[in-house]
Symmetry: C2
Subunit: 341 residues, 2 copies
């Protein structure tokens, strides 16, 4: 996808690996022709010589230690609030932050507004494992949900899968403790029943935890508590297993030689498994695109977060989502906004 001509507002504070890594990520994304408006300290982010990048002086950072909602409300000069306001004002097409997830979600929800009919925006990740890309949501925006929210998440995920990832007719699964329609919490059982009527995507029914790393669906839906815990457990497991294998390869000269011989064959896998590859999570259900990258991103992670936002903005994923919700009646009460569900 040609991303030139798209402009991204970047919250320039909060990258754990420092401003040099951030700047290198900016350089990589700018090389794709993406315009960038970076809210951060000009003294630390040297964008001179990178075409299409402007640094707008900002130094107030809302951190993970701050309570997101009151902080966003009371600190209009903070980098995330200013970056969001820049999108709302029409100066940029999408916002990206690698800082506090909570603050980014709060700022984006207040500043960019929900799409018509959307009850709860959801945070969606792409599972960083080999094989089919699986969009997994909600990974943390809503720790408690009702069935209607899960139903909407299915539509939000399917729309993203189609418009940004190019899956014409996504297969959507609902995460539960068994494949049978009656398995799981009450809201899951109700959402299952409501999703059976879905057109425009293939509802494949309940899926289980093991289906997530197996790439069994294009979209897997769950609540933000389960999604958050599973996503972090999955990332941690990859890290633990890969780390244990590296340790084994250092055990003695023979296994070290083995590790060396295997290295080229493993490089693709290492790339697939790295959190930087997906560019982070995207907040779905808003009128404009907002992306939350990993705080621990390297330069590739920074660039991929910016690219993800630019792709979503380029195809107007939020607009297509709102259109789809309107077409199928999700925002008129026909599916998923039934108060009984």
């Amino acid at each position: 996808m040609d991303l030139s001509g798209t402009t991204v507002a970047l919250d320039g504070l909060g990258v754990e690996n420092g401003f040099e890594v951030l700047t290198e990520g900016i350089r990589l994304a700018a090389a794709d022709g993406i315009g960038l408006r970076v809210f951060g300290p000009g003294s630390a982010i040297d964008a001179s010589g990178i075409p299409g990048v402007e640094v707008i002086e900002t130094t107030d950072q809302i951190t993970n230690e701050d309570d997101p909602v009151p902080s966003v409300r009371s600190r209009p000069d903070s980098s995330i609030v200013r970056a969001v306001a820049d999108v709302a004002a029409g100066n940029a097409d999408a916002v990206v932050s690698l800082g506090s997830t909570g603050a980014t979600m709060a700022a984006a929800t207040f500043g960019l507004k929900r799409s018509k009919g959307v009850k709860r925006p959801a945070l969606a990740a792409q599972v960083p494992l080999p094989g089919r890309v699986t969009v997994f949501l909600d990974i943390g925006a809503n720790v408690e949900v009702r069935a209607q929210h899960l139903v909407q998440f299915a539509w939000l995920g399917a729309s993203f899968s189609r418009s940004v990832l190019g899956v014409e007719r996504p297969e959507v699964g609902l995460l539960s403790v068994g494949e049978e329609a009656g398995k799981g919490r009450d809201e899951v059982v109700e959402a299952h029943a409501a999703l059976l009527g879905a057109e425009e995507f293939d509802f494949i029914g309940n899926v289980e935890g093991r289906d997530l790393p197996a790439g069994r669906a294009d979209v897997i839906v769950t609540d933000g508590f389960t999604g958050n815990v599973v996503t972090k457990a999955l990332e941690g497991t990859v890290k633990t297993v890969v780390g244990a294998i590296s340790d084994a390869a250092r055990k003695n000269p023979l296994s070290a030689a083995g590790g060396l011989l295997l290295k080229p064959a493993l490089s693709g896998l290492r790339h697939d498994l790295h959190p930087d590859t997906t560019g982070g999570a995207i907040l779905l259900g808003l009128r404009k695109t907002a992306v939350v990258g990993h705080g621990s991103s390297g330069a590739d992670g920074v660039a991929n977060a910016i690219r993800l936002a630019a792709r979503s903005a380029r195809v107007d994923a939020p607009g297509l989502t709102e259109e789809m919700l309107h077409r199928v009646g999700v925002n008129r009460g026909a599916i998923g906004s039934n108060p009984d569900v």
Copy 2:
């Protein structure tokens, strides 16, 4: 631990890999001196020549397709119901099944009874990753819980960790979406507050998904929906990553040679990661020990499920748990059975 003299009632139906694998597992466990009363078809399970093993003719199997509770109630001749009844009658010290988890939980809960004061038995797994053994519960007995149940799970897990795994003063974490006490679902926040007063174990507060594979605690507590999904996602992720590495090692002669050189160093890791190593899950909160092994177990998995049950029975883990609950007042309403929690 010397396990001779302990007798386990084994549900001999439901092992996916067939009766030969089951019989080999029985042989391995019997070699440790564990007595076995196997409920299954004598024609298929040939235990002649294995000392201490008796096969009791049973052919009715409750499968994953059957609804557990009505099936257990209406089929007294099924292998799992007979194996449980054998323990209740005092002929065996613990029950093991490698068949339907739902049927085993239902049969054991009805037949072995809950310990005094226990509201909800919980299914506990040992996370199959290198490093510290983490007891993880509930992995599927209770899809919806209240705070008091989570609190009891902490005590059940801590008691198991101490009595069976020998951890004198277990560190116990509560799974949530952030480390702060206020993070997570309402019942998690309430359980956190109630656990702060716990003596006899160290409550380390909330832990996150990434802490599970990192071995950050001896016991990690969650509800049965989240626990089930996370456990299956974790097992699936290990399988996917290990499979992808094996694929890479087959790519070309050079990497195949590398894989070969690494093999000895990886064998310990492969053992740690294999689901068979933990022997399956244990149902905590009952008056006698019940273990549910993986249906897909190999002979080692069968033997380890039997050994886990025998260890628990040998130290009278259920009795020690009941004693602990009584001592700290969990079963008198002082902690965790407060209806307001």
